[in-house]
Subunit: 363 residues, 2 copies
Amino acid sequence: MSKERAYNFSAGPSMLPLPVLEDVQANLLNYKGCGESVLEMSHRSAEFKEILADAEKSLRDIMNIPDNYKVVFVQGGGTLQFAMVPMNLAVKSGKIDFVVTGQWAKKAYKEAEKLGFDAKVIASSEDDVYTWIPKITKDDIRPDADYVHICFNNTIYGTHYPYIPDTGDIPLVADMSSCILSEEIDVTKFGIIWAGVQKNVAPAGIAVAIIREDLLGKAPADIPTYLDYNVHVEKDSAYNTPNTFSIYVSGEVFKYIKSIGGVAEMHRRDVAKATKLYDYIDNSDYYRCPVNKEDRSLMNVVFVIGDEAVEKKFVSEAKAAGLHNLGGHRTVGGMRASIYNAMPEEGIDALIEFMEKFKAENK
Amino acid sequence: MSKERAYNFSAGPSMLPLPVLEDVQANLLNYKGCGESVLEMSHRSAEFKEILADAEKSLRDIMNIPDNYKVVFVQGGGTLQFAMVPMNLAVKSGKIDFVVTGQWAKKAYKEAEKLGFDAKVIASSEDDVYTWIPKITKDDIRPDADYVHICFNNTIYGTHYPYIPDTGDIPLVADMSSCILSEEIDVTKFGIIWAGVQKNVAPAGIAVAIIREDLLGKAPADIPTYLDYNVHVEKDSAYNTPNTFSIYVSGEVFKYIKSIGGVAEMHRRDVAKATKLYDYIDNSDYYRCPVNKEDRSLMNVVFVIGDEAVEKKFVSEAKAAGLHNLGGHRTVGGMRASIYNAMPEEGIDALIEFMEKFKAENK
């Protein structure tokens, strides 16, 4: 990594793999000699259609997505997904069951309520500041619920589902924005998996949704065209002009992951990075991670010192040392190191070295 | 312009100003030495907040946007705007009047109808394949309409409003996707001006909306959060993660336009380019422009030869000669040269030279 580039621990948008960035840069004025930048490319051109088809194919490859699941790239981020999922899926009873494991899961719940659906929180760890993941069983779910929503990795609180809830015949919908492609996932356990790409994949501006096809085509006729998944499916994510550049970079990242050995190898690296950092924190007498051990995230490592002023100093001195965005979410404080796929292990080493130095100077 | 880069006449996404592209490329791994690419930058970081504030300020500057208009950058393109405008504005009578001057105006009308509003076409040139712009007066508008929608430049048909309709107290909403920043506009004549940026500004993935503030805050409580303009206004276009990169490039293009002398100078250049091309076509005994002279677009120049097979040959040989995307929209055929702000005059010269050569070889 170039010495001038920082280690960016932002919760998202965040780092991209350097080889991908360098390739994007090299092709920025003239993509593979075609005479145009991808930034300028018609979404109806043969060149872009190939980029789009390749991106989908690469994602299907590395996630092992079965043929009966459709893949779409949609703008509007998680916030629009919070509306799209109920508008497309809550079409029988209108009942939706939510497991609330953090702010984003709660926002999904609140949005369904705002839209007039019968939304119910069936489990929550809010009383413990979301430091653990509730374990639900089929008995917790209303038998006529249209689907169950979970947030598989909770960016703010540093938690992650250590299991896939068994919801029986009721579709399970998972927001995987902050963990997609960090572990092998059995897609068939889910009705919909969706993820904003800006954390673990590509520049902000699209969410990818992976949808079991029997759930499609049931949305009421009077919802906005853009919010109907089936419109995006039928037009291969190009009903209207898509976010062409973000789709392009996503595809490059998918291919990059494949080139290093796929999601299994990515996961091995992510486990190595996270283990190193959690071990350092757990063995420290200065830093502390408040999260239940078995529910800890590989992607977002939260830790505290216990003194707000010292924590602010930590974040500010870290930035000066080239370790960016280590502050916890503005609603919880403390520190958070988001160590997504693109964070190299050297970034973890640099962070631990800084933590040691800071401890020595401030303890 | 580098010899290797093509002249891209795509209707959008389309060319970007080369100096902007080169600057974006130079900063792609490390934006102004901050250690991060804009592609990786947290939307909550000081660096990005400055980029966002600068982009808005520059747009206000070059468009002379009064303080009582709010500016937001929203994902989802024109298709989402087609839903957002009625959901936010058609809140009294639910009546919306449309002037249908092409496919996009018609889509806006159809979307309002789909959403259950009382949508009415008050004028249309559909019977003449949209080759002219109907002139409406206040008498054509329902007195209790919540707003009137027009499409100010019609990309597919190469037409443009030669006047701003007087709608009295009823807000006028204009889709300016394919002409924004190509002419000086009196913003105060409009309730909302919106534009997808992918034609005349920046890479695809945002629409910019300029909204008179008294129209805000009236949307019903049960619409999707993302579709409420006021949510974007109150959070300065960062309620959720925005399309950071497209906002950044938009800002760079706004500054570029300012640097060359503002929208007035941009317009002078656009008029010079379009005049040169229309004059050539009108004086030709081989090519013909079907559009009513006073309604012609400065941005999208449509022309025909009159023989489908020869027109296909034209488009294909032009591409081989480095003149890309000259085919007319798939629904109308013929040819279309989209000559947005970023198309240099040399591109027009190269096109005319090619047209002469093609005529000599095929007439």
